[in-house]
Amino acid sequence: MNTPENKAGMDGGPVRRQEWRVPARMDGLTGLLAKVEAFLEAAGWSLAASHPVLLAIEELATNTIKYGYPAAAGTLEVVLAVTAATADLTLRDDGMPFDPVTAPPPDLDQPVEDRPIGGLGLHLVRRQSASFVYRRLATGHNEVHLIFHSLAATLKSGFQELH
Protein backbone atom coordinates (compact mmCIF):
# COMPACT_ATOMS: atom_id res chain seq x y z
CA MET A 1 0.00 0.00 0.00
CA ASN A 2 1.23 3.49 -0.74
CA THR A 3 -1.38 5.85 0.62
CA PRO A 4 0.29 9.23 1.23
CA GLU A 5 0.17 10.39 4.86
CA ASN A 6 -1.43 13.70 4.03
CA LYS A 7 -4.09 12.46 1.61
CA ALA A 8 -7.51 13.94 2.39
CA GLY A 9 -10.15 11.51 3.67
CA MET A 10 -13.74 11.32 2.45
CA ASP A 11 -14.70 13.88 5.09
CA GLY A 12 -11.94 16.25 3.93
CA GLY A 13 -9.78 15.76 7.03
CA PRO A 14 -6.22 14.41 7.00
CA VAL A 15 -5.57 10.66 6.89
CA ARG A 16 -3.20 9.15 9.46
CA ARG A 17 -1.92 5.74 8.52
CA GLN A 18 0.08 3.15 10.42
CA GLU A 19 1.10 -0.50 9.94
CA TRP A 20 2.04 -3.10 12.53
CA ARG A 21 3.44 -6.60 12.07
CA VAL A 22 3.40 -8.98 15.03
CA PRO A 23 3.97 -12.73 15.53
CA ALA A 24 0.67 -14.65 15.50
CA ARG A 25 0.79 -15.41 19.22
CA MET A 26 -1.48 -14.42 22.13
CA ASP A 27 1.43 -12.83 24.01
CA GLY A 28 1.85 -10.31 21.19
CA LEU A 29 -1.79 -9.20 21.26
CA THR A 30 -1.74 -6.96 24.36
CA GLY A 31 1.16 -4.88 23.03
CA LEU A 32 -0.46 -4.59 19.60
CA LEU A 33 -3.77 -3.39 21.04
CA ALA A 34 -1.99 -0.82 23.24
CA LYS A 35 -0.14 0.56 20.20
CA VAL A 36 -3.32 0.77 18.11
CA GLU A 37 -5.14 2.49 20.98
CA ALA A 38 -2.34 5.07 21.34
CA PHE A 39 -2.40 5.70 17.57
CA LEU A 40 -6.20 6.22 17.59
CA GLU A 41 -5.94 8.50 20.63
CA ALA A 42 -3.33 10.63 18.82
CA ALA A 43 -5.78 10.86 15.91
CA GLY A 44 -8.42 12.28 18.27
CA TRP A 45 -10.43 9.10 18.86
CA SER A 46 -11.74 8.61 22.40
CA LEU A 47 -11.61 5.11 23.89
CA ALA A 48 -15.39 4.90 23.48
CA ALA A 49 -15.02 5.60 19.75
CA SER A 50 -12.00 3.28 19.42
CA HIS A 51 -13.65 0.36 21.21
CA PRO A 52 -15.22 -1.24 18.08
CA VAL A 53 -11.90 -0.99 16.17
CA LEU A 54 -9.87 -2.52 19.04
CA LEU A 55 -12.48 -5.23 19.54
CA ALA A 56 -12.41 -6.18 15.83
CA ILE A 57 -8.62 -6.53 15.91
CA GLU A 58 -8.77 -8.61 19.10
CA GLU A 59 -11.57 -10.92 17.96
CA LEU A 60 -10.19 -11.53 14.46
CA ALA A 61 -6.57 -11.88 15.62
CA THR A 62 -7.59 -14.26 18.43
CA ASN A 63 -9.45 -16.49 15.94
CA THR A 64 -6.48 -16.50 13.60
CA ILE A 65 -3.99 -17.26 16.38
CA LYS A 66 -6.15 -20.06 17.84
CA TYR A 67 -7.24 -21.77 14.62
CA GLY A 68 -5.18 -20.43 11.73
CA TYR A 69 -1.83 -21.97 12.60
CA PRO A 70 -2.19 -25.62 13.63
CA ALA A 71 1.47 -26.30 12.86
CA ALA A 72 3.67 -23.38 11.80
CA ALA A 73 4.22 -19.96 13.37
CA GLY A 74 2.87 -16.95 11.47
CA THR A 75 2.69 -13.19 11.21
CA LEU A 76 -0.25 -10.84 11.59
CA GLU A 77 -0.31 -7.58 9.70
CA VAL A 78 -2.54 -4.68 10.71
CA VAL A 79 -3.00 -1.56 8.60
CA LEU A 80 -5.08 1.30 9.96
CA ALA A 81 -5.94 4.54 8.18
CA VAL A 82 -8.05 7.03 10.12
CA THR A 83 -9.61 10.45 9.74
CA ALA A 84 -11.61 12.22 12.46
CA ALA A 85 -14.70 10.40 11.20
CA THR A 86 -13.67 7.04 9.75
CA ALA A 87 -11.31 4.16 10.50
CA ASP A 88 -10.26 1.91 7.62
CA LEU A 89 -8.81 -1.35 8.97
CA THR A 90 -7.07 -4.14 7.07
CA LEU A 91 -5.92 -7.38 8.74
CA ARG A 92 -3.76 -9.92 6.94
CA ASP A 93 -2.44 -13.29 8.04
CA ASP A 94 -0.69 -16.19 6.36
CA GLY A 95 -2.68 -18.88 8.19
CA MET A 96 -5.23 -21.40 6.94
CA PRO A 97 -8.04 -20.01 4.77
CA PHE A 98 -10.90 -18.71 6.94
CA ASP A 99 -13.77 -16.40 5.99
CA PRO A 100 -15.03 -14.67 9.18
CA VAL A 101 -17.71 -12.75 7.27
CA THR A 102 -19.80 -15.84 6.41
CA ALA A 103 -19.35 -17.58 9.80
CA PRO A 104 -22.85 -18.52 11.10
CA PRO A 105 -24.39 -16.04 13.60
CA PRO A 106 -25.06 -17.16 17.20
CA ASP A 107 -28.60 -17.75 18.55
CA LEU A 108 -29.15 -14.86 20.96
CA ASP A 109 -32.65 -15.86 22.09
CA GLN A 110 -31.75 -18.72 24.41
CA PRO A 111 -32.02 -18.50 28.23
CA VAL A 112 -28.88 -18.34 30.39
CA GLU A 113 -28.67 -22.10 31.02
CA ASP A 114 -28.79 -22.94 27.28
CA ARG A 115 -26.55 -20.17 25.95
CA PRO A 116 -23.35 -21.61 24.50
CA ILE A 117 -20.23 -19.99 25.94
CA GLY A 118 -18.43 -18.49 22.97
CA GLY A 119 -19.22 -17.72 19.34
CA LEU A 120 -20.03 -14.07 20.04
CA GLY A 121 -16.86 -12.38 18.81
CA LEU A 122 -17.57 -12.31 15.08
CA HIS A 123 -21.18 -11.30 15.76
CA LEU A 124 -19.92 -8.21 17.65
CA VAL A 125 -17.52 -7.34 14.80
CA ARG A 126 -20.27 -7.72 12.19
CA ARG A 127 -22.68 -5.51 14.12
CA GLN A 128 -20.19 -2.73 14.93
CA SER A 129 -18.60 -2.31 11.50
CA ALA A 130 -20.02 -0.34 8.57
CA SER A 131 -18.29 -2.68 6.10
CA PHE A 132 -16.78 -6.17 6.65
CA VAL A 133 -15.21 -7.92 3.63
CA TYR A 134 -13.01 -11.00 3.34
CA ARG A 135 -10.84 -12.20 0.51
CA ARG A 136 -8.20 -14.88 0.11
CA LEU A 137 -5.21 -13.37 -1.68
CA ALA A 138 -3.21 -15.14 -4.41
CA THR A 139 -0.18 -14.77 -2.09
CA GLY A 140 -1.80 -17.28 0.31
CA HIS A 141 -2.96 -14.64 2.81
CA ASN A 142 -6.34 -14.06 4.42
CA GLU A 143 -7.32 -10.39 4.15
CA VAL A 144 -10.16 -8.82 6.10
CA HIS A 145 -11.11 -5.23 5.40
CA LEU A 146 -13.37 -3.26 7.73
CA ILE A 147 -14.68 0.28 7.92
CA PHE A 148 -15.84 1.99 11.13
CA HIS A 149 -17.46 5.38 11.61
CA SER A 150 -16.57 7.26 14.79
CA LEU A 151 -19.33 8.06 17.25
CA ALA A 152 -19.10 11.76 16.35
CA ALA A 153 -19.60 10.96 12.66
CA THR A 154 -22.54 8.66 13.43
CA LEU A 155 -24.18 11.37 15.55
CA LYS A 156 -23.56 13.96 12.83
CA SER A 157 -25.11 11.82 10.07
CA GLY A 158 -28.07 11.08 12.38
CA PHE A 159 -28.46 14.82 12.93
CA GLN A 160 -28.35 15.48 9.18
CA GLU A 161 -31.01 12.82 8.58
CA LEU A 162 -33.28 14.53 11.09
CA HIS A 163 -32.90 17.94 9.44
Binding site: L55, V112, I117, G118, L120, H123
Partner: protein, 109 residues
Protein backbone atom coordinates in the same frame (compact mmCIF):
# COMPACT_ATOMS: atom_id res chain seq x y z
CA UNK B 1 -7.16 -5.25 34.74
CA UNK B 2 -7.65 -5.00 38.50
CA UNK B 3 -10.42 -6.42 40.69
CA UNK B 4 -11.76 -5.11 44.02
CA UNK B 5 -14.22 -6.82 46.33
CA UNK B 6 -16.46 -5.64 49.17
CA UNK B 7 -19.59 -6.79 50.95
CA UNK B 8 -22.73 -4.63 50.94
CA UNK B 9 -25.50 -6.36 52.89
CA UNK B 10 -26.11 -9.78 51.32
CA UNK B 11 -24.35 -8.80 48.08
CA UNK B 12 -20.69 -9.00 47.15
CA UNK B 13 -19.74 -6.02 45.01
CA UNK B 14 -16.88 -6.83 42.64
CA UNK B 15 -15.31 -3.86 40.87
CA UNK B 16 -13.47 -4.62 37.67
CA UNK B 17 -11.19 -1.88 36.30
CA UNK B 18 -9.39 -1.59 32.96
CA UNK B 19 -9.87 -4.17 30.25
CA UNK B 20 -11.43 -7.60 30.00
CA UNK B 21 -9.85 -9.11 26.90
CA UNK B 22 -8.55 -12.45 25.62
CA UNK B 23 -5.46 -12.06 27.82
CA UNK B 24 -6.92 -10.74 31.12
CA UNK B 25 -10.33 -12.46 31.28
CA UNK B 26 -9.12 -15.80 32.66
CA UNK B 27 -7.74 -14.02 35.75
CA UNK B 28 -11.11 -12.30 36.29
CA UNK B 29 -12.88 -15.65 35.92
CA UNK B 30 -10.62 -17.20 38.58
CA UNK B 31 -11.43 -14.35 41.00
CA UNK B 32 -15.19 -14.70 40.45
CA UNK B 33 -15.01 -18.48 40.89
CA UNK B 34 -13.11 -17.95 44.16
CA UNK B 35 -15.78 -15.51 45.40
CA UNK B 36 -18.62 -17.89 44.46
CA UNK B 37 -16.80 -20.86 46.03
CA UNK B 38 -16.57 -18.74 49.19
CA UNK B 39 -20.37 -18.86 49.42
CA UNK B 40 -21.43 -15.69 47.55
CA UNK B 41 -24.88 -16.10 45.95
CA UNK B 42 -25.52 -12.46 45.07
CA UNK B 43 -22.88 -10.89 42.89
CA UNK B 44 -22.90 -7.24 41.77
CA UNK B 45 -20.26 -6.44 39.15
CA UNK B 46 -19.35 -2.75 39.28
CA UNK B 47 -18.37 -1.91 35.68
CA UNK B 48 -18.02 1.87 36.18
CA UNK B 49 -14.24 1.73 35.57
CA UNK B 50 -14.31 -1.03 32.95
CA UNK B 51 -12.97 0.63 29.78
CA UNK B 52 -13.07 -2.31 27.40
CA UNK B 53 -14.71 -5.72 27.04
CA UNK B 54 -14.47 -8.29 24.24
CA UNK B 55 -16.19 -11.66 23.76
CA UNK B 56 -13.61 -13.19 26.11
CA UNK B 57 -14.89 -10.92 28.90
CA UNK B 58 -18.54 -11.61 28.05
CA UNK B 59 -17.79 -15.32 28.39
CA UNK B 60 -16.84 -14.79 32.06
CA UNK B 61 -20.14 -13.00 32.81
CA UNK B 62 -22.10 -15.79 31.10
CA UNK B 63 -20.18 -18.54 32.92
CA UNK B 64 -20.79 -16.79 36.29
CA UNK B 65 -24.50 -16.34 35.47
CA UNK B 66 -24.84 -20.05 34.64
CA UNK B 67 -22.97 -21.05 37.80
CA UNK B 68 -25.10 -18.82 40.06
CA UNK B 69 -28.34 -19.90 38.37
CA UNK B 70 -27.53 -23.51 39.31
CA UNK B 71 -27.05 -22.35 42.93
CA UNK B 72 -30.28 -20.24 42.93
CA UNK B 73 -28.08 -17.14 43.12
CA UNK B 74 -28.00 -13.98 40.99
CA UNK B 75 -25.61 -11.69 39.17
CA UNK B 76 -26.24 -8.01 38.41
CA UNK B 77 -24.19 -5.73 36.16
CA UNK B 78 -23.87 -2.16 37.48
CA UNK B 79 -22.92 1.14 35.85
CA UNK B 80 -21.32 0.04 32.55
CA UNK B 81 -19.79 2.80 30.38
CA UNK B 82 -21.52 3.42 27.02
CA UNK B 83 -19.03 1.41 24.94
CA UNK B 84 -19.30 -1.59 27.30
CA UNK B 85 -23.09 -1.34 27.56
CA UNK B 86 -23.25 -1.49 23.75
CA UNK B 87 -21.35 -4.80 23.76
CA UNK B 88 -23.75 -6.28 26.35
CA UNK B 89 -26.69 -5.11 24.22
CA UNK B 90 -25.38 -6.44 20.89
CA UNK B 91 -24.52 -9.80 22.48
CA UNK B 92 -28.10 -10.11 23.75
CA UNK B 93 -26.91 -10.12 27.37
CA UNK B 94 -29.29 -7.32 28.34
CA UNK B 95 -32.08 -9.91 28.03
CA UNK B 96 -30.44 -12.47 30.35
CA UNK B 97 -28.63 -10.28 32.93
CA UNK B 98 -30.04 -7.33 34.88
CA UNK B 99 -28.03 -4.20 34.01
CA UNK B 100 -28.56 -1.22 36.31
CA UNK B 101 -27.20 2.33 36.07
CA UNK B 102 -25.70 2.49 39.58
CA UNK B 103 -24.16 0.13 42.16
CA UNK B 104 -26.68 1.37 44.77
CA UNK B 105 -29.60 0.22 42.60
CA UNK B 106 -27.84 -3.06 41.77
CA UNK B 107 -27.33 -4.01 45.44
CA UNK B 108 -31.07 -3.44 46.09
CA UNK B 109 -32.06 -5.68 43.13
Amino acid sequence: MTVTENRQGTATVVGVQGRLDAVTSSEFEKKLLGIMDGGCRKLVIDCSALDYISSAGLRVFLAAAKHLKNLQGSIVVAAPLAQVREIFDIAGFSAILPILPTVAEATKE
